[in-house]
Amino acid sequence: MQRIEQEGKVHPAEERLRKLLIRGLAGDASAYHAFLQELSAHLRAFLRRRLTGMPDEVEDLVQESLLGVHNQRHTYDAAQPLTAWLHAIARYKLVDLMRRRAKHELLSDPLDDEIDFLSASDSEAAEARRDLGKLLDQLPDRQRLPIVHMKLEGLSVAETARVTGMSESAVKVGVHRGLKALAAMIGGGKA
């Protein structure tokens, strides 16, 4: 992201990403896919530089930021510089992670850390917490089923409504709320 942050003239990456996002917001799924794909590479570079002490967290935070960008894409205004918008989201997720870790380290007893260090099952739990697929399984059916059918199997809203027996608006709400709940779960908070 630093590459598109150069001051003065607009960097080609900013212009390209902006066009892809605007087409994506208008409903062009392949442009939106390309936008997210390229964005994830920028996010990874941006976060890796700032999380040198905790490389394990990088990919987690890339995913969290991507979910944030997706869930909040309605707040992007085409008149606004895209870099400023993306940077604010990535920075927000980074600061949120730092705050969470600081709180965790403050609350946890040093003795607990030693127990954690020897406990294999705890590290497995940490792994599981990070797997979005497993987090998805924890969502209630009214959110999980719409996401599975629409976002993973690629069914339309109408088809998903028929398969699940939900109304079309309930399907849309389920996808929207489910993705927000996922973002909250990956962030360690409550949905």
């Binding site: 309605h74 707040t75 400023a84 993306l86 989201i89 927000y92």
Partner: protein
């Protein structure tokens, strides 16, 4: 799920998104919040009995303009703070301007008054209740504005919470103007501001917890 799978999942069936829903959300929040505040005032306080006469006094309108200017500036603040990467630019100046203007007006009123009258100008008859009633009337607006901002993406949570609190305080005070009998500039410059600061402080306190996403 690796990141490529996540990207594919997010892009699949993403559909079109309505452009910038923020103004609409805030319009709904402010109108419903103001209705709630009006209802509270109607039940608990009632409008001032000399309202028709007060409408002819310039000070009534000065008071209203002061509160309305703060409401407008804090609305500009929440609109910017609820979207990532939007700079505040002129907004802090717009927030300070009505406060400074009212302060100057208050200072002139106090300087011109005889020393014995200054206490009355500052304390009025209702200084013990005014700030709390403004805070009370702002409560429904506070809830509605928090709903609006939670559907958007604030990244500076404490500041966004404070701006939301100030907006609800200003709308609450705007409704309170219809009840409040006080007309002294020093009273308004201090006690009205204090009343609006109660939800502002509450918003700053709750923002980081309530506005996370």
């Amino acid at each position: 799920m690796n990141t490529d799978d996540l990207v594919t999942m997010l892009a699949t069936g993403a559909g079109a998104v309505a452009a910038n829903p923020a103004p609409r959300r805030y319009a709904v929040a402010i109108v419903s919040g103001a209705l709630g505040a009006g209802l509270l005032m109607g039940i608990l306080l009632g409008v001032r009995h000399d309202l028709a006469a007060a409408l002819l006094l310039p000070m009534f309108w000065v008071k209203l303009a002061f509160v309305a200017a703060l409401a407008a500036a804090s609305l500009a603040a929440v609109l910017r703070l609820s979207r990532p990467g939007m700079p505040l630019t002129w907004v802090p100046g717009a927030l300070a301007a009505p406060i400074v203007a009212m302060g100057i007006l208050a200072a002139f009123a106090l300087l011109r008054a005889a020393p014995a009258q200054r206490g009355g100008l500052f304390f009025g008859d209702t200084w013990t209740s005014c700030p709390f009633l403004i805070a009370l009337l702002s409560a429904p607006v506070f809830v509605a504005v928090l709903w609006a901002i939670r559907g958007l993406a604030p990244t500076r949570l404490r500041l966004a919470g404070a701006a939301a609190g100030l907006l609800s305080g200003a709308v609450g005070a705007l409704v309170y103007c219809l009840h409040c009998p006080e007309m002294g500039a020093p009273f308004i410059a201090f006690w009205y501001l204090l009343g609006m600061m109660i939800p502002t402080a509450l918003g700053a306190l709750l923002g980081p917890r309530l506005l996370r996403w």
